[in-house]
């Protein structure tokens, strides 16, 4: 694995940023200041960051309704994201998208997507563009265990394989599609085998472990960046919060999340691994934690006090004015 100290520090910072962003939103949601649906990514950070640390702004990703982690991992501005979630005029999408529709085309971020299974076909198209450009860029879609049951995902798998486009399907099995367990809803259980049925190589990863995801994505890119067509990364993980904020999660056993947080947390695992190997000392990581906390706090304060859009903005950014 070719991760130098700077790369390790960046990966840790991004994972910590996602975590603190989501933990803060979980708290702030209770104040009633944030409108609409919010789906938090906390717990799955190793997947978004393990995948996106391989990508540049010229690679594309298509995200899901649980998209904050993918956005941050792909380099979207945290302050702009927070403002978007608060529905502010200078949010990343001017307050017109909200939590479920954060996009930043300049960063190669094709958008979070509130339609489950909406992203993979779009990423196939971005992969067609990448193939035609011939510069070795790829398109990546993120899909959960729930989304994997949508027909669009199966269509995208087939079409990407038929067209041999540089497309990487990242599947994040967090155990639940909304309020229903993957143990019930995922026929065949091993999603990887489903994908292999399309002739697409699948690289399995422990979604609690940044290094495992990073390595799986490296192998997937070896296929896709070199003209080998699509590949897939299949990571198992968990989410720490409900399907949406306010979900009482009464489908989960008591203590389930606490046990994951205690025993399998990706940030704890990363910290243990790099400090025990003597690569980075704990004080350096503590300093990053403090910096990130400050950054999220500043973003939150700024978002709360930022100006909302004016009513006339409802009529801008349209294709046709009537």
């Amino acid at each position: 694995m070719q991760l130098n100290r700077d790369a390790l520090l960046q990966a840790y910072r991004r994972m910590r940023t996602i975590r603190e962003f989501e933990e803060r939103l979980h708290i702030e949601n209770r104040t009633g200041e944030i409108a609409g649906f919010t789906h938090l990514y906390a717990g799955q950070e190793a997947v978004a960051v393990g995948v996106c640390e391989h990508l540049t702004d010229k690679d594309w990703i298509a995200s899901t309704h649980r998209g904050h982690g993918h956005c941050i991992a792909k380099g979207c501005d945290v302050g702009g994201m927070m403002k978007e979630i608060y529905g502010r005029a200078d949010g990343l999408c001017k307050g017109k998208g909200g939590s479920m529709h954060i996009a930043d085309l300049d960063k190669g971020m094709l958008g979070a997507n509130a339609i489950v299974g909406g992203g993979p076909p779009i990423a196939v198209g971005a992969a067609i563009a990448a193939k035609l450009a011939g510069e070795g860029h790829v398109a990546v879609s993120f899909t959960g265990d729930g989304g994997s049951n949508q027909g669009t995902v199966l269509e995208a798998l087939n079409m990407a394989a038929v067209l041999k486009v540089p497309k990487i399907f990242v599947f994040e099995n967090n155990g639940y599609s909304e309020h229903t367990g993957a143990a019930y809803a995922l026929a065949g259980q091993d999603l990887g085998r489903r994908v292999e049925g399309f002739g697409i190589p699948v690289f399995r990863a422990d979604g609690f472990d940044f290094f495992s995801v990073y390595e799986a994505m490296r192998q997937a890119l070896e296929v896709s960046r070199t003209g080998g067509g699509p590949a897939a990364v299949y990571a198992t993980c968990t989410r720490y919060f409900g399907h949406f904020e306010g979900d009482p999660q009464n489908y989960r056993a008591k203590g389930e999340v606490e046990k994951f947080r205690e025993e399998s947390d990706c940030l704890k695992g990363f910290r243990a691994r790099v400090t025990e190997a003597g690569l980075i000392d704990a004080a350096t990581l503590d300093a990053i934690d403090a910096e990130v906390l400050g950054e999220i706090d500043a973003a939150t304060v700024a978002a709360k006090s930022a100006a909302p859009p004016v009513p006339a903005d409802v009529l801008t950014d349209v294709y046709i004015s009537y």
Binding site: K94, K96, L105, I122
Partner: protein, 337 residues
């Protein structure tokens, strides 16, 4: 000027624009055809109506992409390709298949620019055949532009002749927004004069097909030649009408329609779709709101009935509005005031 069919006019537009702009790609089921077949012959279809014929030989399978039968993914891939800088022209074969691809059309393509705060461009054309008259039955014959027109974020084009088809398709491909392009399957062989070179027809500009004084007829697609036929009979009785072809239902050239009605005082709107929430009812509503004082008689709409499209020749003939109904509607607005 060369006389060619509407099919050939569309084909010319695609050839011209693919040659001019390397970002233009074509994708869909059998847009070339023959891939994976035992004859080894590519372009075995060239699109089931022949509109994309010959493109693969000129532009290769990197830009002329035969897809599996996956309508959602065809439109989804066109969306992603558009966001990533290409200018895809996706073919859905039959407008009825919009049902399979609807999410990618109305939740995704139509929303990107607005939902992403104005930053996304989605230069995408979705071509599809529509309309009854070929006995293709209930799931291959519908006229569905009304509900595409109702979606904020989609532009909707309905050409009625070869000249307009070519000029409007060139505009559609060059447009930075999603355009749904409806081709009436009974008009593919309609012939007309079409200049050889490049010309673009702007969206939102209606064509005044005929000028007259007694009534205004607004018609779309195949209803335009039907209205022309009706006018032959009416003219023989000394009745003349403005015949307006809006060409695009979104944006809609309200001004031309309202101005004509202010001259004639009578309006007949002809639309092949069923009557409720149709383009006919929409235009009637606009004129009732904005041109009420110009009207001498109640507006008449001529539409298909509120039923699925039937199969049998006799039933389909009864379903599709024709010259006789248009003629009767004009006589009625004249009798009414």
């Amino acid at each position: 000027m060369p006389v060619i069919t509407l099919r050939e006019a569309l084909n010319e537009a695609l050839h011209l624009e693919m040659a001019r702009d390397p970002r233009v790609i074509v994708l869909g089921e059998d847009v070339s055809g023959g891939a994976g077949g035992t004859s080894g012959q590519r372009d075995a279809a060239g699109g089931i109506f022949g509109v994309t014929k010959g493109l693969i030989h000129k532009f290769g399978d990197g830009r002329v992409i035969d897809t599996p039968i996956s309508e959602s993914c065809i439109i989804g891939a066109a969306n992603g390709a558009a966001l990533a800088g290409l200018r895809p022209v996706a073919e859905l074969m039959f407008a009825d298949f919009v049902g399979v691809a609807m999410d990618q059309i109305f939740n995704q393509a139509a929303k990107f620019r607005y939902m992403f705060g104005g930053k996304a461009r989605t230069p995408l054309v979705i071509r599809m055949s529509f309309g009854a008259g070929m006995n293709c039955a209930a799931q291959h014959s519908q006229t569905i532009y009304p509900f595409m027109t109702a979606v904020p974020g989609l532009k909707v084009v309905v050409p009625s002749n070869p000249y307009d088809a070519k000029g409007l398709l060139l505009t559609a491909i060059r447009d930075d927004d999603p355009v749904v392009f409806f081709e009436h399957k009974a008009l593919y062989s309609r012939k007309g004069e079409v200049p050889e070179g490049d010309y673009a027809i702007p969206f939102g500009e209606a064509a005044l097909v005929r000028e007259g004084e007694h009534a205004t007829i607004v018609a779309l697609g195949r209803m335009v030649p039907f209205a022309e036929k009706a006018l032959e009979k009416l003219n023989a009785d000394g009745i003349t009408c403005d015949l307006i072809d809006p060409r695009t239902t979104s944006p809609l050239d309200e001004e031309t329609i309202l101005e004509s009605v202010s001259n004639t005082g009578r309006l007949v709107v002809v639309d092949e779709s069923p009557p409720r929430c149709s383009v006919a009812s929409d235009i009637a509503a606009i004129v009732a709101q904005k041109g009420f004082r110009d009207l001498k008689a109640p507006i008449q709409i001529v539409t298909a009935p509120h039923t699925p499209v039937p199969f049998a020749r006799e039933l389909e003939r009864a379903y599709v509005p024709g010259p006789a109904q248009i003629e009767a509607a004009v006589r009625k607005v004249l009798a009414d005031g």
